[in-house]
């Protein structure tokens, strides 16, 4: 168990960041990270020879993808008392980083697999090979999805502001 703790503990901030990027709000993200850590602890002895980081990210990605699929079936429901905190809260960096906020919003319109690749490669600094293992697709597919994701973001961000406002309200 000491080995588990020393390997997993340093990953937790990155796991939260990845889940937040995929799921859009930090509470849901932390729920999924918690599920993930419980599964990691329960299945640690069965991890075979996989690199621990790739293995943990695979579990996290599958759980987050399930969550997204559930959500797209049900729609997002939010308790009105929580709205202030979760959906409209202005996160610390956003005021200073307007472009960052726009990129995050534009990313919401991407399909889950493209979002995942973009985050794994651009934010988590994983190699294409590691991303291919986590998402269970060949490296060629990783590259083509990454290319599509970046191109879609570019187009979304180059649209005139008025259109972008519409895009955001659809979410």
């Amino acid at each position: 168990m000491e080995e588990l703790i020393s390997q997993i503990e340093p990953m937790i901030p990155a796991l939260r960041r990845y889940a937040r990027g995929l799921l859009g709000d930090i509470d849901t993200a932390d729920d999924v990270v918690q599920d993930c850590l419980e599964k990691v602890v329960a299945h640690w002895s069965r991890r075979k020879n996989d690199d621990p980081r790739t293995w943990v990210f695979t579990i996290l990605h599958n759980l987050a993808a399930n969550k997204l699929r559930q959500r797209s079936r049900r729609g997002i429901s939010v308790d009105i008392d929580d709205v202030q905190d979760t959906l409209f809260a202005s996160e610390p960096t956003q005021d200073r980083n307007l472009f960052g906020k726009e990129v995050l919003t534009a990313m919401e319109t991407l399909p889950e697999d493209q979002k995942g690749i973009l985050l794994l490669v651009s934010v988590e600094d994983l190699t294409y090979g590691e991303a291919s293992k986590i998402l269970r697709v060949p490296v060629g597919t990783v590259m083509s999805r990454l290319s599509r994701a970046r191109e879609k973001l570019r187009q979304a961000l180059e649209k005139p502001k008025a259109n972008r406002a519409n895009l955001r309200s659809v979410k």
Partner: protein
């Protein structure tokens, strides 16, 4: 001769994944192509903006419910408890098994052919893969038709993959499974509660057209049937009557071809 620059090189350039020699070639190329250059720098800006706007999450203190030490502690305490529960349950099952074992003709009686054998094979696949969190399925195609083509190619006959969304189950994907009666194909569904349901198909030499039969092992139920030489089995931890109505709906979609 130099290798032509392709889209993958531009992406790898953005992500700093090229070796020095190739990077130099891409830089030379970008110097001569303004559009590619502007695209590459847009992509780099996107990455930097994403990193910047998500990084606050990684810098925050980790909430205590995500403290791995607490999770490890909590689990070892629960495990100790459940070991006692398991021991108690085993004693009860032994007592029941000793007296009532002869009543049930269940999956452990090992028939060697026909739909009864298929039910055992399907339930073995369920046991092996339904609890697998990392790699429950091998293929995750975008549509049911793609999966049906893979299944048909595997078993060498026309297989159909039913849509169970009316029962709340979404298709996850499938995989090839070996059986004593030739290659089989298994696919899996899950619902909003994370309940998994497995279907399996293979060609039938015995029981080519069979009505639906029930089988049971522990709390896992199976309904198995065949039509026109192709067998299907549906396995899940749902109760037998609930699973029967889902299996009926599936069977209605898989008409003989």
């Amino acid at each position: 001769m130099r290798r032509p620059i392709c889209e993958d090189d531009l992406l790898a350039f953005v992500d700093g994944a090229l070796d020095d020699e190739r990077r130099f070639e891409v830089e030379t190329y970008l110097a001569s192509d303004d559009r590619a250059m502007s695209r590459v720098s847009t992509y780099r800006n996107q990455s930097a903006a994403l990193r910047q706007s998500l990084d606050y999450v990684a810098r925050e203190p980790v909430p205590s419910r995500l403290n791995i030490r607490n999770i490890v502690d909590g689990r070892s305490r629960r495990r100790l408890f459940s070991a006692w529960q398991v021991a108690a349950a085993a004693t009860v099952f032994l007592a029941i098994g000793g007296t009532c074992g002869w009543i049930s003709r269940d999956l452990t009686s090992m028939p060697s052919a026909g739909v009864a054998a298929l039910a055992i094979e399907a339930s073995a696949s369920y046991q092996a893969f339904a609890g697998d969190l990392v790699r429950p399925v091998e293929f995750r195609p975008d549509t049911r038709d793609e999966l049906a083509i893979l299944a048909s190619e595997t078993i060498g006959g026309p297989a159909r993959v039913p849509d169970l969304s009316a029962s709340g189950f979404r298709l996850m994907g499938g995989r090839v499974v070996p059986t004593a009666h030739g290659p089989g194909f298994m696919w899996m569904y899950d619902d909003d509660k994370g309940t998994r349901l497995v279907m399996m198909t293979r060609r039938m030499e015995v029981d080519k057209d069979s009505t639906m039969r029930e089988a049971k092992k522990g709390n896992v139920n199976a309904w198995t049937w065949s039509q026109a030489g192709i067998g299907y089995s549906m396995v899940s931890a749902k109760s037998a009557p609930e699973l029967k109505s889902i299996a009926d709906a599936a069977k209605a979609q898989i008409l003989p071809i």
